[in-house]
Amino acid sequence: MLGYDYQLSLNAGSISKDSSILVVSNDIVFFLNYYFLPRRIYKYADITKDADLKNVSREKLKKDKINYILLYHPPSVKIINVDVNGSIK
């Protein structure tokens, strides 16, 4: 019951508390907020697949101060860094 979510909360602990995270998922991810707060979780309506990431402008990432991108496709979960210029590493 708690297994996967518990793992997620442990992952959240490794990310700085004042960071912003963009979630890429075609799932309903409301509950991610619960585990990642006070980190700010963003989800753009048109970004549901990893391939959609190329459509996101650097300006938008910079505007929302996105530091990380969470590729959330359970059971696969991956976190990517975003640099200060909005470039995805």
Binding site: L2, Y34, L37, R40, Y42
Partner: protein, 472 residues
């Protein structure tokens, strides 16, 4: 350690609630310890939610200082009047223990089994149900971290969100525990969540005891609810951290005050009922139905008399009740409409007169779905039909008996339940929700609030049948 701190926070809030109850009722507190403790707990949470909304609307943030220090006024008032609480404790508890029959012991065993089960299931795990994390727990954490809805957490439309226009009593009460702990501990908060159901059962017992003047029937009413499967096995059981059981508990308090006002005509009980009804709107949007039910009960005459005095009295009751409810709810309505997200599915403000034509074809499907849901014949609902554990069957029998035998109390309670059914059906018709999808998963939770009234109607009719038989 966190559980102990959470217990201290809950005790502080409840003592503040006692101060408020004492301020409203003065020396006319009819409850024993079983009714007084839930009442103080509910009133304390209500005071906290009102205070929280006022803090946010004033541009400040909810924090340990801003939440706990203003409440100290109520706390000090409660301590000054603690002799009343001592009198209630020593007087009625001893009386209650004396001369318990074997039937009463059976009911007590059933009640204890139900409430202990729910409480243990609550504190056995951290918060883990979907809505309890995605909606209520998330907002509690947001309030803990940012202290106000005027923050990026609530206002940034690119952030993920779930029903951010839902009222904040439940999240504020959770956040208040986090303030004491200094951290968001989703296990310690289960202590708060686990208390709603036991306290509702205790209050129902005490309400029925005062209303019917019959301890055995009061225990029966509480026992009927204490093991009702819907509180254990539905999508949002009593230990889940959903806001449905808190709403049911707070409605039970306000409805109890309305019922006792009808019996005593004590103006202070009307004030208490109005206050408790107001906080229903701060708990869940569905609370608006329950506010209407309380008003209906208050306005329902014992005998139909049409003269100038009775009409003026009726207008006075409606005016006082509506004014108090509006004053309590107004800050929240202002705050909720400051949030830039679209209206939620059950937001009353989404109803538009221009859509009236589209509502009519929805009436029959909604009513049919409601009936199918209760009978448990809807696809995927066979299991859920069992969740009411025969309560509706008993209710239909006792309602018919009340109508045939003209029992005023039974008929009044039956009309309240009937009105609830009509209001919920009207809600489904007006809110543009797809009944097929929404009702399958949610209808049981939405009707959960009315279950104390159903239980009370059943025992009230049995009591009236007994009295009728004795009179013959």
């Amino acid at each position: 350690m966190n559980f102990i701190l959470a217990l201290i926070a809950i005790t502080y809030i409840s003592i503040c609630g006692f101060g408020l109850v004492k301020f409203i009722l003065k020396d006319n507190i009819p409850f024993s310890i079983f009714g007084l403790v839930p009442l103080c707990f509910g009133a304390g949470l209500g005071a906290l939610a009102i205070l929280g909304n006022i803090i946010m609307i004033s541009g400040y943030k909810i924090s340990f200082i801003t939440a706990y220090v203003p409440l100290f006024v109520l706390f000090a008032y409660a301590l000054k009047n603690c002799k009343t609480a001592q009198k209630v404790y020593s007087g009625d508890l001893l009386g209650a223990i004396k001369k318990i029959s074997w039937m009463e012991w059976l009911f007590i065993f059933i009640i204890l089994f139900g409430i202990i089960s729910v409480f243990i299931m609550s504190i056995a795990f951290p918060l883990h149900f979907w809505d309890s994390r995605a909606i209520w727990g998330t907002k509690a954490k947001m309030l803990f971290y940012s202290g106000t809805i005027f923050s990026s957490d609530f206002m940034d439309i690119n952030r993920i969100n779930a029903h951010f226009r839902y009222p904040l009593l439940f999240p504020i009460s959770q956040a208040t525990i986090y303030f004491v702990l200094g951290q968001a501990d989703d296990w310690a908060v289960m202590l708060l969540i686990g208390l709603f159901f036991p306290l509702m059962i205790f209050f129902l017992y005490d309400l029925a005891r005062i209303y019917l003047q019959d301890r055995e029937k009061a225990l029966m009413a509480a026992a009927l609810l204490a093991v009702l499967p819907i509180f254990f096995r539905s999508e949002g059981p009593a230990y889940s951290g959903f806001a449905d059981t808190p709403l049911a508990m707070l409605f039970c308090l306000s409805f109890g005050a309305a019922l006792l006002w009808k019996k005593s005509k004590d103006f202070r009980m009307l004030l208490l009922c109005s206050f408790l009804s107001g906080i229903l709107l701060l708990t869940k949007n569905e609370g608006i139905n329950l506010v209407a039910l309380n008003l209906f009960l208050l306005a329902l005459p014992d005998k139909i008399i049409m003269n100038k005095r009775s009409i003026l009295d009726l207008i006075k009751i409606i005016a006082i009740y509506t004014a108090i409810v509006a004053i309590i709810a107004a800050p929240w309505f202002y705050l909720s409409h400051a949030i830039p997200f679209e209206s939620d599915i059950n937001d009353i403000f989404q109803i538009k007169l221009s859509n009236i034509g589209s509502y009519i074809p929805r009436i029959m499907p909604v009513i049919m779905y409601s009936f199918k849901a209760f009978l448990g014949v809807q696809k995927n609902m066979l299991n859920q039909g069992f969740l009411w554990g025969g309560l509706w069957g008993l209710f239909i029998v006792t309602s018919l008996a009340s109508i045939l035998m003209r029992f005023s109390s039974g008929i009044h309670l039956f009309l309240v339940v009937l009105l609830n059914f009509l209001l919920i059906s009207a809600g489904y018709v007006l809110m543009q929700i797809t009944p097929e999808n929404f009702m399958i998963s949610n209808i049981f939770r939405i009707y959960l609030s009315i279950s104390p009234v159903i239980s009370l109607q059943i025992v009230s009719t049995l009591k009236e049948l007994e009295s009728d038989k004795a009179a013959k």
